[in-house]
Symmetry: C2
Amino acid sequence: MAAQTSPPATAPDGRTADGTAPGATPDPAADHTPDRTPDHPADRASGRPPGLRERKKQRTRDALVHAAHGLFLTQGFAGTTVDEIAAVVDVSQRTFFRYFANKDEVALAVMADAEDYFIECLRRRPAEENPLQALRAAIVQSWRDLGSGDLGGPGSITSALELVRLIEETPTLLAAHLRRITQQERIVVTVIAEREGLDPAEDLRPTVLAAVFGSVLRSAHLSWCDDQEKCGPEAMITLIERHFDQLGPALAGDWRH
Amino acid sequence: MAAQTSPPATAPDGRTADGTAPGATPDPAADHTPDRTPDHPADRASGRPPGLRERKKQRTRDALVHAAHGLFLTQGFAGTTVDEIAAVVDVSQRTFFRYFANKDEVALAVMADAEDYFIECLRRRPAEENPLQALRAAIVQSWRDLGSGDLGGPGSITSALELVRLIEETPTLLAAHLRRITQQERIVVTVIAEREGLDPAEDLRPTVLAAVFGSVLRSAHLSWCDDQEKCGPEAMITLIERHFDQLGPALAGDWRH
DNA sequence: GCAGATTATGTCAGCCACTGACATTCGGCA
DNA sequence: TGCCGAATGTCAGTGGCTGACATAATCTGC
């Protein structure tokens, strides 16, 4: 876990991953966000330090993420079974599924933490910056922060970057990731709207901006993946900047001045 | 099938949906596009009209899409099993999977046709239009074309619109759909690059533009889904236009002039 | 029209992701 | 110490998806 983000202490508790009850017209209650960090009442940084139970849970979760990460990187995502992951950590398969709604979720866990940190950064951007500036600064800052003080452990930049590649290579993961991204975008919309004192239902700009921002980011990720050798956070930051710089030109009327 | 797009005559043939062979480092050969329309050599509008075999295949495929569509809309996506779909058309489950790589694919088949038609429209836009204009015009035109002359059958606008809603309501489908979209974006990149005589590896503008275009579109879709009552293609077109109009303002420096 | 090559389909057996139900064990707390 | 609730394990079952093989259709050249 990167030093900046308070580790999401996820508790195993019931949520239905994705499958919806049969016999329902157009899928009722479909959008179960699998709820990372449920944070039971009376947890969440309440004065009391977490008890043994809490710590144990966190350790198990970390171990699962770590084991999964290792296996995925060596055997591929599809080539790794949940049983294997569980076996490494020495828990039952059933327990695995109490921590993660599905196989995708373990893989994306590290990414998810990084995204949370980005949101944090965005919230802290000074009010003078205009929305686009704030977004751009926040994403660069978050990569940079995660890059420095990298411990190499799970949740580190290294992991996150390896993950970007794994995701882009694995169709299932890519799909799941893209879905997560769109949820993150909704948060971005509300943050931006708050900053500017707008109602997103009235003014479409936050929505559109968030969408554009997300897509430019992903372009940069893709570009980073294609470019072998260019690893490391700096390369990623450079690419992000470069892609953002092309936003204006791309939307400009005339490309062949 | 909408009158405009030549019905993709898909042949059941081997492809691996998603799962990758075990024992592979970071998933080799990962990006198997499940290959709609494989078009065996010597098919593809060769003078010879399609034989009985070809026609039968097409009929089976259409029947599967139609049956699936109906079941999904009444029972939900998760609430419908592949066996049920196959049973309606009276083929074996195995046969189903020879036509579609997975359950997602049947659901997205109609959408996929509409997207193909959009690409066709884009290719036909006059060279005078600048890239953004061309994209915008093409998407509006494709919705409009599909809207007129709607037969209400499978592949019609009605189906496509119902589908947009189903997708947005069903996490699994949404994920799969988003992934398809990104593939479609790659095509858009090459089309735009050709139009402007650019090398997408050199000039980032096509890539960035395609990404932005895709994300704005999806915003519009989402907005259309939220807005109950406002059904029909016209409403969709209006929303698309409105979202595009916010592109400039959203990226502009100052939001509180 | 008929043999023989192709190709679509069915059957079967099996892997794996995922879930509900119930029993057991373990940590928190009086 | 003893009770309560939460975490875990076990088990059995469903459903998506695949490989292998046999069978039944089409298509081909004659």
